[in-house]
């Protein structure tokens, strides 16, 4: 049953299975296991980025296509939901229409970019997507009448998904042995915010299982063949260009759905939160450090990086304070420079662990 859900793709190492299970349990129980809205926000972000990064891995890790336009598709989904929530009213139908429209737009743009650049030369794709991504980001901040410009859009989501809706309280569980304190499980009310979190969580879970299904299907095998040797794949009789365009479109659609989830959670979209080049860099780092060519790598990469963004900074702050006297070293450990160290880690992992954390764990088993 579980194996069928995972489409036969075993994690392949006991340690990896345990880590993945821990992540799943932590995310599934996030509203009750951790205290505070900040933790819940981080958990929701992790869910969204896992999907986003996994959809990017479909391109980069499975097919060997480098794209810098992934944030556009993410943004399409997010802006789709934002615009329809603004103009169609505060209902679930608006969210669905917005997500659908965003996905369609993303699919269309991905097909056009793919037709143009994948037909000629795969390396063009990387350069062209970089150019298109910056053009779209500029366009979105320029067309402020439609998109709200740099300020972005704030909108309302259905009341059932906001903190204003109450669904009762978590019961206090009394542990069955004497002298134990009553266990309160976070001791909070079940609000619409928590329901909203579960919408995000289950959406992300479904999309990840879908991606696992895709990569373990015959279609996914062809993609891997193209990654390994496109000339040979063509010679065997697969139309490489069609497969490349199809996978570009597919990953764009999944990315836009991740964007829609993100928009539902944040109730705000802006160029910096969904379209910026920094997010693209984050996605790249997550895929490569987690492990290219495995969906589980995307899961691990997203979790590690998002946690690092929160906790590495604290660690560096302590270290920088300790080195206060030495000028350059203190600057190097400045918490704002955390990207420097991730960049170094990124380059090292491309050289030495091209299969990332997941590849490392899988290999250590045998």
């Amino acid at each position: 049953m579980i194996l069928k859900l995972l489409s036969g793709d075993r994690p392949g190492s006991v340690l990896l299975s345990l880590i993945l299970l821990a992540i799943l349990v932590a995310l599934a129980g996030a509203p009750f296991l951790f205290d505070g809205t900040r933790a819940l926000d981080t958990a929701a972000r992790i869910c969204v980025f896992i999907v986003l990064v996994a959809s990017y891995d479909l391109l980069l890790g499975y097919t060997g296509i480098v794209s810098f336009a992934h944030t556009i598709f993410f943004g399409f989904g997010a802006y789709g939901v934002a615009l329809s929530a603004l103009h169609l009213g505060r209902g679930f139908d608006a969210l669905i229409v917005g997500a659908g429209a965003g996905a369609l737009a993303a699919a269309a743009l991905a097909a056009v970019i793919g037709l143009f650049s994948l037909r000629v030369r795969a390396i063009f794709f990387a350069m062209i997507t970089l150019a298109v991504a910056s053009a779209v980001a500029v366009l979105v901040s320029q067309l402020s009448a439609l998109t709200g410009g740099e300020d972005g859009l704030t909108y309302l989501i259905p009341k059932a998904l906001t903190a204003a809706a109450r669904y009762g309280e978590i019961p206090t569980v009394t542990l069955p042995w004497p002298g134990a304190d009553p266990l309160t499980l976070g001791g909070q009310r079940i609000t619409g915010k928590i329901v909203n979190y579960y919408v995000i969580f289950s959406g992300a879970l479904i999309l990840i299982l879908f991606l696992l299904r895709v990569v373990n299907s015959p279609f996914g095998r062809v993609l891997q063949a193209i990654r390994e040797n496109d000339f040979r794949a063509e010679a065997i009789g697969y139309r490489v260009v069609s497969y490349r365009i199809a996978v570009t479109v597919l990953s764009a659609v999944v990315a836009s759905l991740a964007g829609a989830l993100f928009a539902i959670w944040l109730r705000y979209v802006g160029p910096d939160t969904v379209l910026s080049f920094e997010i693209m860099i984050d996605i790249l780092l997550m895929v490569v450090i987690g492990g290219m060519g495995t969906i589980y790598g995307a899961v691990i990469g997203a979790v590690v990086l998002l946690l690092a963004q929160n906790y590495l900074k604290d660690l560096m702050e302590t270290a920088a304070a300790g080195l206060g006297d030495i000028p350059l070293a203190a600057d190097l450990l400045n918490p704002d420079r955390w990207l420097l160290w991730l960049g170094v880690l990124f380059v090292l992992s491309v050289y030495f662990f091209p299969a990332g954390i997941v590849g490392r764990l899988r290999r250590s088993r045998t």
Binding site: L60, V120, L130, S134, L143, L332, N334, R337, L340, G343
Partner: protein, 376 residues
């Protein structure tokens, strides 16, 4: 042997051979004057259009056509200003892009970290200018140009040295693997950008041009900024020098032969690896030069400026045709001119216009205007 031997190295080339370099170049180079004229016409049409009238209806109106010559005369001065500024921008982008395209042609290496050299060049150059503050503020042209020349030399030395390290540490281990090249050079870009933050602080740095390069000359009623004229001159000089070296010198011959068929050149006993390192360093130094020029043009520098300029650089490299210095030159001029004309006509579309330019050129010639290198 009476029949020609089959061309083994070129099995993927299914297109008919073009007549020769002279003929193949003639058409793309004509695009530049065509674009300049199109820019003039578009500006004149926009000026002659009555307020709020649709373009199609105006075209059918004879009053529009009688008013057009007058509009042409009225718009001429700003057109001249825009053309010079477009050429200046194009020349600076050419400086940044030329190294990248040669590196790709020679070794099939695509360097996404090229923008790092632009940023570092700008920061080093501006630091030198700041150190020579007295020379910069002095009203004499000699002292000003000496300060700029020193800044440029320092920047080029710094980025050249950085290119050497970058090639050794970042690029060399991943020869022959495009995917890893893109990822690793991107990583290099992140690291260098962050190091700039560490060394120069996180804020943008404002600067002023030397006294003698401030202000504008007036010619035919058009204000031509002195600095833009200097940029055009420098860009043209570098282009002609590069062409001279590539066409007339022995090393140029080896580089061009290496771009066309590297294995053959190596078989003849040349160490193409060394040539490649030299080209990589030269390309990095040129990016540094472009960075300093751009810094003086914009009068503000930031660490991500190189990465932002890479967007234009890539468009130039793509439409020029990978590996071609001439194509890169034409492409850069096209991009600079298009950007400036559209910024005047419809400011919101400035960056998108370059994408449109790229699409049009790729529909006309899918491999770029003057492709030399074929991706392996």
């Amino acid at each position: 042997m009476t029949h020609a031997a089959p061309d083994v190295g070129d099995v993927h080339n299914t297109q008919p051979r073009r007549a020769g370099p002279g003929h193949a170049m003639a058409l793309p180079i004509l695009v530049v004057p065509a674009l300049v004229i199109a820019g003039l016409l578009a500006m004149a049409v926009q000026a002659a259009l009555p307020d709020g009238a649709g373009l199609l209806r105006a075209l059918a109106d004879p009053a529009f056509w009688t008013g057009l010559p007058a509009a042409l005369g009225a718009i001429q001065a700003s057109w001249l200003t825009l053309t010079v500024s477009g050429l200046a921008m194009g020349m600076m982008i050419f400086l940044m892009a030329s190294g990248l395209t040669l590196v790709f042609g020679l070794m099939d290496v695509i360097n996404f970290g090229h923008g790092a050299f632009i940023s570092v060049g700008a920061f080093v150059g501006v630091s030198v200018l700041a150190a020579l503050g007295a020379w910069v503020a002095a009203p004499g042209l000699g002292a000003n140009l000496a300060a700029v020349a020193l800044a440029v030399l320092a920047a080029m030395a710094a980025t050249g040295a950085m290119g050497l390290v970058f090639e050794r540490v970042i690029v060399r281990p991943v020869y022959g693997a495009h995917l890893k090249q893109i990822l690793v050079t991107m990583g290099g870009l992140i690291i260098v950008e962050q190091l700039i933050h560490v060394l120069w602080g996180p804020d943008e740095i404002f600067l002023t041009r030397p006294e003698a390069l401030k202000g504008a000359l007036t010619w035919q009623g058009a204000a031509l900024e002195k600095y833009r004229l200097l940029a055009v001159g420098v860009g043209l000089a570098v282009f002609l020098l590069m062409r001279l070296v590539l066409r007339r010198s022995r090393i140029g011959l080896i580089v061009r032969a290496g771009v066309q068929n590297g294995e053959m050149v190596e078989a003849l006993g040349y160490r193409l690896g060394l040539v490649f390192v030299a080209v990589f360093v030269a390309g990095s130094a040129l990016a540094g030069l472009g960075g300093v020029m751009w810094a003086l043009y914009e009068e503000v520098i930031t660490a991500p400026m190189g990465a932002e300029l890479m967007v234009l650089v890539f468009i130039v490299v793509i439409i020029g045709g990978l590996g071609s210095v001439e194509g890169c030159f034409i492409g850069a001029l096209l991009v600079g001119l298009t950007q400036n004309y559209t910024a005047f006509l419809e400011p919101k579309l400035a960056l998108v216009s370059n994408i449109a330019l790229m699409v049009v050129i790729l529909m006309w010639r899918p491999e770029g205007m003057l492709p030399v290198a074929r991706a392996k």
